[in-house]
Symmetry: C2
Subunit: 228 residues, 2 copies
DNA sequence: AGTTCCATACTACCATACAAGTGTGGTAGT
DNA sequence: ACTACCACACTTGTATGGTAGTATGGAACT
């Protein structure tokens, strides 16, 4: 029996998809890079079919752009999408953290606090990569504890654009301390059931992520889609 | 030159996708129906490839479920997804209608009012199908006027589940009059820049769409995913 | 020198063949 | 009658060849 679970054996398509997505989100494949079914199929030692299918999936998520008979390219970061991703997150996460102040399973709260501890450790040893993941995990746990995990998934999809932008920012700016502080104060607000404070904190927190967006666009102009 | 525009000639894949999606959302292919790449390829007179690719796309949107080596099935309606879709819409649309009360282009406001007129006509001649579309259009215009069209697209994706449920409701219940009245009052609130009233109206409006969800699940049990 | 045209080397799209896993119904054995 | 087993008819996953459209560089012509 080949391990029955959510992964009854990951297909070649899924593997290729995961690797490409990883490379795109980490900016190892920067915006604008040309991809090719054939080249990728050689690179991953599979046929063109699974490569092609992973391209289509990435295209649907907006990570690549497929131009028929011309080529497939890593999408430029669209500032409009970045802003709307922030907008969505702000309003949905404000609503969720309000829910959390009413009712939140103790187990998940402990998970948040464990996450906080690891964040502290990451700041010590300046492991920004892992800190980025922990930030994701923190917010995810919030949604999970409120039974809104599907909502989080949908946000995630829009979030890929915001995240590429945030990662770019990480290159030039290392002030990630506020981030931890925010998370800590939000957790405290949930414990204290102070919905108004929690909502206010969340709003500030999410506004930070696009704080110097214009500077980024100036610094890496060829990575961004220019306004119409 | 083959008409350069947004559709440089729709591919076979896109055509198959559009037709299947249409059939699924209209419940012509009810939840649970078995599909097959081969059968569909014969039906649409194309090879398996474009059919397969449209299946994958539908799967990513959650409209079908692909079980490797077993088959592809139209997804059951997941009540959890229906509720979260409503949750997302409530909070995002409340935020958007608030924006609309601050600033909304006159042109789009006129569009809303034209939509309202057509809604009235549809109620007269009991064209519920078209009324459903107009309802979609009304909300879409709201997002468009606020420059949040991408957000609407993301909502739409989650919305497919909510919509199948709403369509099911349409079969048994024809009281669509409130709907028009709500839309009219929301438009008035925007004109009068009364954000609090607008937000309250929107909240009520969206709560209506899942009003008798439990009854539906009782009436069409085999269309819904049962609780874990 | 500048312009037009065309061969060529790409691209993604589609059709088709084969591989591998799954469910089912019939059959042989008990 | 019942059970175990196996062949077979499905399913999706992968590989590959051919088609049509696109971009590009060089040759021929003005």
């Amino acid at each position: 029996m080949p391990f029955i679970g959510q992964t009854p054996t990951p297909s070649a398509r899924d593997l290729v998809y995961a690797k490409l997505r990883e490379k795109i989100l980490s900016l190892e494949l920067p915006p604008g890079t040309a991809l090719s079914e054939k080249e990728s199929s050689l690179r991953f030692n599979v046929s063109r079919t699974p490569v092609r299918e992973s391209f289509l999936r990435l295209a649907q998520e907006g990570l690549v752009q497929v131009l028929p008979q011309r080529g497939t390219f890593v999408s430029l970061i669209d500032p409009e999408l970045v802003e709307e991703a922030r907008f969505m997150r702000e309003h949905l996460e404000k609503a969720v953290i309000r829910l959390a102040c009413e009712k939140f399973p103790e187990e998940k709260l402990a998970e948040l606090e464990a996450n906080l501890r690891e964040q502290r450790a990451c700041i010590e040893r300046e492991d920004h990569r892992r800190l980025f993941e922990l930030d994701e995990g923190f917010h995810r746990t919030l949604f999970e504890g409120c039974g809104k995990l599907n909502t989080w998934s949908v946000i995630q999809q829009m979030n890929v654009h915001l995240n590429r932008s945030r990662l770019l920012r990480l290159v030039t700016d290392h002030r990630w301390d506020h981030l931890y502080e925010h998370h800590e104060r939000m957790t405290a607000a949930i414990r204290g059931r102070d919905a108004d404070a929690a909502e206010r904190l969340m709003k500030e927190h999410l506004h930070l992520s696009v704080e110097d967006q214009p500077l980024l666009q100036e610094k890496f102009p060829h990575y961004f889609k220019q306004g119409e």
